[in-house]
């Protein structure tokens, strides 16, 4: 007999799209990360961390945002370390949208589709109707500003930091300072792709909800991965 359990609709939708099954190869982790991991192991860093992640890494994240964009976020209350940018994106979509609400994406459409499907949400056809506007540092600054000009006063902006050197950030504009959630990857650029480390930095109004959702999803991010990422960021 074929073994099968009945699947929910969202699961049937996503399973037909499959999932990446070919691991890519990557080199050995950078020496500083290896050394930091060995030290963390010697200290017994094998337990759950604080659910938002280890504080020194959260501080590195906020320093980075401040240095590059002049944007200020509180590392203690409003920053969360995630299992890669994948988890940050997923948590943002689940927490910032209610089922049925829509998201307008200026980038990362393919990656967002799955998170939206799980939420029971869809892409918006126009920025005006969207509850969330999704932007990426990969996008042209002019395009980002144009989309920001079209969203409603209550919409939230999610800004995904990619491997670019652009210095525009929506929170630099006063109107978006308190409603932009920044997410990003701390691993790939550091040669730690398989270690799965990313972050969420949020304005006070949405920070607690995002942190609680992350905790409900994975409790915390892999302890050793956090120390490895910290070592690489500190060296920079």
């Amino acid at each position: 007999m074929d073994l099968a359990v009945p699947l929910a609709k969202r699961a049937r939708t996503l399973v037909t799209r499959g999932y990446p099954d070919t691991p890519n190869t990557s080199d050995r982790a950078p020496e500083v990360a290896v050394m930091a991991t060995l030290k963390a192991l010697a200290r017994g860093e094998t337990h759950y961390t604080d659910r938002p992640g280890i504080l020194p890494l959260r501080e590195q994240v906020t320093r980075l945002l401040n240095k590059r964009f002049g944007v200020t976020v509180d590392p203690k209350a409003n920053t969360v370390i995630t299992c890669g940018v994948t988890e940050a994106r997923f948590v943002a979509v689940q927490e910032l949208l209610a089922p049925g609400e829509t998201l307008y994406a200026g980038a990362e459409l393919e990656q967002l589709f799955g998170a939206l499907t799980v939420r029971g949400s869809e892409f918006a056809e126009t920025p005006e109707e969207a509850r969330v506007l999704y932007l990426s540092s990969r996008m042209d600054e002019g395009d980002q500003r144009r989309l920001l000009g079209h969203i409603s006063d209550t919409a939230t902006v999610v800004f995904e930091l990619n491997q670019t050197t652009n210095t525009f950030h929506p929170a630099q504009l006063e109107a978006f300072q308190n409603r932009t959630v920044t997410i990003g990857d701390l691993a790939t650029e550091s040669g730690l792709e398989s270690w799965r480390v990313g972050f969420l930095a949020a304005p006070p109004a949405s920070a607690a909800g995002l942190r609680d959702f992350k905790q409900a999803l994975t409790i915390c991010t892999t302890n050793l991965s956090q120390w490895a990422a910290l070592a690489v960021l500190e060296e920079r």
Partner: protein
């Protein structure tokens, strides 16, 4: 007392996981507090597992497939056969970012809005969020101290409707320490076949069932493999909470669907963690047997301490927790745990963090070295005794 009342008023608004975390945050402000709250084993990850991670660090660590390293999926499936006589292939195994992600994936994969899932009460409240997120409804099934918190099949049967999609079992249970007995499991299996629902069996504490009780893995009962999703992980079994590796065993169609959703939740589990988990899975579990001795000694100590304080409890049949009846203090659980933190500097969780109606109960872990547990008991005893005396005097 005002500060106490203000803090209490604030945390009284919280429930489930949020309440647990608020108390953990409060405990951080109490110097030299003893944490008997979070289910995080204090023991070190066994040396041979740490050594495997050290060795893995000397070579490349490529990104793993979303469903997990093939050799880890295979090892997890092989151990299901070794430990529970449960025949599964690697295609039935999915590696998750801790059991926690597993429970989210299971619910997202199985439940539609309008579905009902039966959940024994009290419960690990992280399930609440995972269930709510799907739009399905949890239907609470009571469990009783006089049964050692085993589930009563008739209580399940009474609550079945045409919308019942699944029954959740957590065996051994967090928070009660109850286990599902063979007889109960068989009755539940019959009900599942007859009424066509899925059993989701969280067996994350399955290596810690205390004699004379034994662990029953529901999927290994005749006819149940195709209607059971088993959830487990390395966190509790091998003191590996920080590594974030869990797993699910399920019919292949569910594993594929969960992997598809997992692509979007967190992607693959950290490769280094999976390599460490692989060492654990390939081991002979001598470390688990050692852990069991350690936990047995601690259990005896806490049991004696609770009896001495005059708190009621039924002997845990499995897992790391005591579920103690504190009604003798005349205080509600939340207030009592708050006062224990302030006055005895010991963090325990109130029963209400595991179900609204459990305001007479405390959940107390055994996850500290014996001397620390001893100290916790000596700090708690005079405080509990004083409140119990005051309560008796009022009556």
């Amino acid at each position: 007392m005002n500060e106490v009342l203000n803090t209490l008023a604030a945390i009284q608004q919280l429930e489930g996981a949020k309440l647990r975390y608020a108390l953990m945050d409060l405990a951080k402000e109490v110097p030299d507090a003893i944490a008997l709250g979070r289910g995080d084993p204090d023991l070190d990850t066994p040396a041979f597992i740490v050594q495997a991670a050290r060795e893995a660090l000397t070579g490349p660590l490529p990104v793993a497939p979303v469903a997990g390293l093939p050799e880890l999926r295979e090892a997890v499936a092989a151990n299901a056969l070794r430990d529970h006589g449960l025949e599964q292939g690697s295609e039935n195994a999915l590696i998750t970012t801790g059991g926690q992600e597993g429970l989210f994936l299971v619910m997202s994969t199985l439940l539609e809005p309008g579905d009902e899932i039966l959940v024994p009460d009290p419960r690990y409240t992280s399930y609440d969020q995972a269930i709510q997120h799907t739009g399905a409804t949890s239907v609470s099934v009571p469990t009783y101290a006089e049964d050692g918190f085993d589930l009563r099949p008739e209580e399940v049967e009474k609550r079945l409707t045409p919308n019942t999609k699944a029954l959740l079992l957590v065996t051994p249970s967090n928070p009660t320490g109850g286990v599902i007995t063979q007889a109960t499991a068989e009755r539940l299996a019959e009900l599942a076949s007859k009424h066509n629902f899925v059993i989701i069996s969280d067996e994350i504490y399955g290596k810690f069932v205390w004699e004379p009780h034994t662990h029953v893995s529901v999927a290994s009962l005749p006819g149940m493999r195709e209607r059971t999703v088993t959830l487990s992980g390395f966190s509790k079994a091998y003191a590996m909470t920080g590594w974030r590796v869990g797993y699910i065993l399920a019919p292949e169609n569910a594993v594929r669907a969960m992997a598809a959703i997992k692509t979007h939740t967190t992607g693959p589990v950290a490769t280094l963690s999976q390599r460490a988990a692989l060492a654990a899975a390939h081991g002979d579990d001598a470390c688990v047997r050692e852990f069991r001795h350690i936990y047995a000694e601690r259990r005896a100590l806490v049991a004696q301490g609770l009896s001495h304080m005059g708190l009621g409890y039924s002997d845990p049949r499995g897992g790391f927790f005591f579920w103690a009846d504190a009604s003798s203090t005349g205080l509600r659980a939340l207030e009592l745990s708050y006062l224990l933190l302030k006055e005895a500097r010991v963090l325990v969780f109130p029963g209400t963090a595991f179900g609204e109606s459990w305001s007479d109960y405390l959940r107390i872990t055994t996850l500290q070295p014996t001397e620390v547990l001893q100290e916790a008991v000596s700090r708690m005893t005079p405080v509990v005794e004083r409140y119990a005396r005051e309560a008796a005097a009022r009556h």
